[in-house]
Symmetry: C2
Subunit: 277 residues, 2 copies
């Protein structure tokens, strides 16, 4: 097994690369797995992307992202469910078994976190069977608590599992991302809980660096640049039975300003240095 | 009991006011409690501040802040302990029974959250008896997880209580601040735990507004402007037996740019509107 055998590059990490550029760079560097995002896939074309990755021998480890389930307005809610069905269709077409969900924040004017979390569970009850029919698993991603109001009211693995466990594991599990959970001393126990239930549907890495940028979206640090011990978290998911791909997913304005192929090579090297060797 | 009977204005909320201006504005508005910070107190003079608040009939509800206990270097550690003894002395001189602690982040290059948390406990073992001798209680403030690397490795009330409960409650308790814990569905249970142990040493309010500013320090929202249901959190601490002062503590560049007296009046009115009536 090579050092990169489990490495998957999330497309967003090197979003300056077009899909063909990404496929070529992966071939040159010996990378055979990618995580994709719906927007650039739709821009390039869904069927064209499916053909491109198939011809390049790339495995699509996840599609990001479905979700945004917290609307109260019935029309918004119906639209969100329809959009998530399309996301499931797209995942199936791309040949990935995992759709990552960013569940949504508080609706404007609402202060009701509990109600928003319940609406997420309601939506999953409708989408889970549809996903199963298409061979796709839904992965609830708990996002760091700094996103709780405007992006994702699911802030911890415990909260994500409390929702996921209402459904069969082959329908709904969780995404374990170091960036969102590294501060949480309960997370190792929750990873064990997720693993025991067969619910770790993806494992993603990003490092925690400060100062955080305005809006706190695009400050995910290169592996090794920050506060997170990647080997420790890799050990937790492996001890919980996870043997799947490990995706590196960074959003970072400074990294995006660099040459994409060079950044991809650096990211693969950092993965090996900080998570494998 | 008037609407402002439990209201305390944390000095940082209106840092554009000098201490005499703050005392005058409090008198005009019927506010009789303040939370103070060490830096402006030292600038005005410790004894002068003690006289000022005494003459104005103001109760000092807390002094912010001690802490920064996570250094590994022995000289830094000794200096931190000495500085915290001075903070306890200052609290006693100002007549407050509560010193709020911001415990410190990861030392440069360290990724060991657990070790940092243990060093906080070690420091409290040394400082607790000293604080007791001076009639001062130490309040561990869990800070939002977005500060875990650079400011405070204690990110939840559960973590704060796990440390505090190693010591007598009259030596070490916790600070409950809505801004830091509002996202945490375990926090209500932890407030009950803290109350049962007599460890809620202060209760502070700030609202959660987005987008967060760069560095995420000065984005604490005016009461009522954000996502937090203040009545709900007030009910949790009251159900846990807390009957003390309620401090409003905001750090916000936009609020600091305004007239300080007007901001104080607005803050008191918002407190009444969103937490009392």
């Amino acid at each position: 097994m090579t050092d990169l055998a489990r490495f998957s590059i999330n497309q967003m990490t090197v979003k300056q690369l077009s899909l063909p550029e990404l496929a070529n760079a992966c071939a040159e560097l010996g990378i055979d797995k990618v995580g994709l995002w719906r927007d650039p896939v739709q821009t390039y074309g869904l069927d064209a992307t499916a053909k491109l990755v198939r011809d390049a021998g790339l495995t699509v480890t996840t599609l990001c992202r479905g979700g945004f389930f917290t609307a109260i307005d019935p029309a918004e809610r119906t639209a969100a469910l329809a959009d998530n069905r399309r996301a499931i269709d797209e995942a199936a077409t791309l040949g990935t078994d995992t759709l990552v969900l960013v569940s949504g924040g508080l609706p404007a004017g609402s202060k009701d976190l509990h109600g928003a979390r319940e609406r997420i569970a309601d939506a999953l009850g409708e989408l889970g069977p549809y996903a199963e029919q298409h061979g796709v698993r839904l992965a609830i991603e708990p996002l760091h608590p700094m996103y709780a109001s405007d992006r994702c009211v699911v802030s911890t693995l415990a909260q994500a599992l409390d929702i996921a466990e209402r459904f069969p594991a082959h329908q709904v599990g969780v995404a374990v991302d170091t960036y969102h959970i590294w501060w949480d001393d309960d997370a190792p126990a929750q990873i064990a809980r997720a693993g025991a239930g067969g619910r770790i549907h993806t494992f993603q890495l990003a490092d925690w660096t400060t100062p955080l940028p305005e809006g706190v979206l695009n400050g995910r640090g290169q592996i090794g640049d920050g506060a997170i011990d990647m080997r420790e978290w890799k050990r937790y998911v492996e001890d919980a039975g996870y043997t799947g791909a490990i995706e590196v997913e960074l959003f970072n304005d400074h990294l995006w300003a660099r040459d994409g192929r060079e950044l991809l090579a650096e990211t693969a090297a950092r993965f090996v240095e900080h998570a494998i060797r």
